[in-house]
Symmetry: none
Subunit: 208 residues, 4 copies
DNA sequence: CATGAATGAGCTTTCATTCAT
DNA sequence: AATGAATGAAAGCTCATTCAT
């Protein structure tokens, strides 16, 4: 019966958004597992019944929020790309890109952290993050292949792209989630050197 | 008060071990959050009362198991190190080390995956993994500094060590937790190239 | 969070009352400590979830019930007062008042007995009974002071009021809770004589 | 089987006493319900198995302790009596006796408070306190009857004795358990006046 | 005799979800 | 459409007591 409502009018859209906003705030504040559907409904100023007419269940709400989020995160990650000219791509451009990635985590760090935890555990969430990873790896791979002429030749561009992606992602997590006494710029420098060493065969920047 | 039993006799040690074994199996099978203390006790063939006389609560059991585990994991990660001579450390030695790290994940992959998820969420677990990371980063940093003579000079050895650690860790997670169509050896090759590019300034191996 | 429901509609009020009634019956039957929240819910024909949406916990239920009860008990204790004229207050009026107090215990003797036991032990319950005692002592003190003209002068009217209160209370407990072979009227007579001896300086009644 | 040990040798007596002492301290500290048999055994430096070979169960321990205690309490209550000459018993002697009763509560006030709470609830404890009350009431009644010549004649000496006992007991509880801003001496004065008014027909003391 | 490991019934409480109004 | 009262499975944990060693 009770089919899930897909809001078409303004009021419905507002309500759905209010729920999403409330959930985002509460997830950040007390964790996903620590937040109950009642709390979300209350914070959104909506009855629990309404909540369940907009979202089949808590899990579906989370999935929907996450799909939205990764879209935005992806855009934020790659927005710096537009301003770079590939033919002259150098170690400092890598550094800029990396800092752009770090920045993208400011969008909703707690939500990212919380959901990424579930990637190890929840198959639906894993699927979303895996799909996202695939997109980013392909993007990196595309860049490598497009610029093969200016770079050290690469045996397995997909493996290389994956390794670069994983390195950047985990260093971003260290910087943004786990914390470290090392500064973000120092991390970005080392990371840029490492990737430059691989792709550009040029480690002079590290020597400087 | 509720003094936790520290078993001294054979029987007590057996019991504690049986609980730990049962927990390990169940955590892998249905996840940490999906496993109840009653289930663990039942699988261990022990009363729930016994469970709670050996462990203050589920959390404490987990912590104790994890402390044990990371110790073993650390040993497994670095065991390949003994057979290497630093003066001649080359790209292929890095590759061997990396495959050794991948291998260390076979110890208890599901347990590692499940607990690492909680690193984002549970402060006690975060502390353990952070401590472990520190240990490994220091080890890498030590290697870098010891072999400074044979390597490309490095500006900030701690940041470099952290970046290398993060890269290897996340690629291992991709290989062992998230899954990918890329083979482990291809990943290890790309990773070895990347680190060699940074430290050895020598990417010919990638070109071969 | 776990916002406790304050029922506004008929259904909710019914439910809350059903819980209260069931609790009252079970407390009398098997004691407060011997009654579980599940039993109460079951007897009230309500789910355990409902129980906990009306009362934060068993303790809070008890407190709410007790606050209600002492209010009614107080009214019952003093209702006989209205018909007395102070200027002519005599030993027999005291006797009437005392029997009125005894009677007030018929409201819910088991509940009174059970909760009064906790006065020695539970701070919240102690607070309620202490507040009630204060109210009654003030009432007695007021009567003494209002009628100072017709009475033996009293040095410390508050101490005297407390002593009278305590005497009447404990004799009522003997009559209603602990039991004795002495009849209630005999106790009331002795008590009236004692108080009359103190306030009216007139113990002839005892001789009669 | 496991019949309860009645210790005849010194060591056994010591052990039993150590358990009793430990229980007394813990009952005072955390309440009777808040104390577990394990805690008692631990504090007594005895195994839980030993505990149960000296006492059939926690309840029996409590009963045994209480029987002992009321004996001592009774002695303490009446010790002031020896020094009084009945023929000349006056209001101030009553006051002295009352202060003696108050004092007797210093023996183990928390234990008295805790156990007296159970009088309303636990039949075995009720029996002990009822028996004790009977003893004291008889003692008072005896005094009244012995001194009938010097006193206002009394209709029902048993009822009078009960009323006096109840008054004194409850005022002692107010002073020692519930607490009040009225001083103990003020309470004793008012109480002495009240009893004197009943027995001695003499309230001049109150007037001074 | 002493020990303390083991037992397990039973308690309180939470929360995702449903459905009558 | 919106509401929120009602549900109940299920979790974590305690503690008096027993009995094999």
């Amino acid at each position: 019966m009770s089919s899930i409502r897909t809001p078409r009018q303004k009021r419905g859209i507002d309500t759905k958004e209010r729920i999403t906003k409330a959930a985002m705030a509460l997830f950040a504040e007390r964790g996903i597992h620590g937040t109950t559907s009642k709390q979300i409904a209350k914070k959104a100023g909506v009855s629990i019944g309404s909540f369940y007419s907009y979202f089949k269940n808590k899990e579906k709400l989370l999935i929907e929020m996450l799909e939205d989020y990764v879209e935005n995160h992806y855009d934020a990650v790659w927005q710096a790309l537009g301003s770079l000219r590939m033919e002259t791509l150098g170690r400092n451009d890598l550094r800029t890109l990396i800092l752009g990635v770090f920045n993208a985590y400011e969008l909703a760090p707690e939500f990212h952290r919380q959901t990424h935890a579930l990637r190890y555990t929840d198959p639906d969430i894993k699927r979303i993050y895996d799909r996202e990873r695939e997109r980013e790896v392909r993007q990196i791979q595309f860049l490598i292949e497009q610029n093969a002429g200016h770079m050290v030749p690469v045996k397995d561009s997909r493996a290389v792209a994956m390794v670069i992606h994983n390195a950047v992602e985990n260093v971003a997590h260290t910087a943004k989630f786990y914390g470290t006494d090392i500064s973000e710029t120092a991390l970005a420098d080392a990371l840029a050197d490492m990737i430059a060493g691989l792709l550009l065969g040029n480690t002079l920047s590290a020597i400087k």
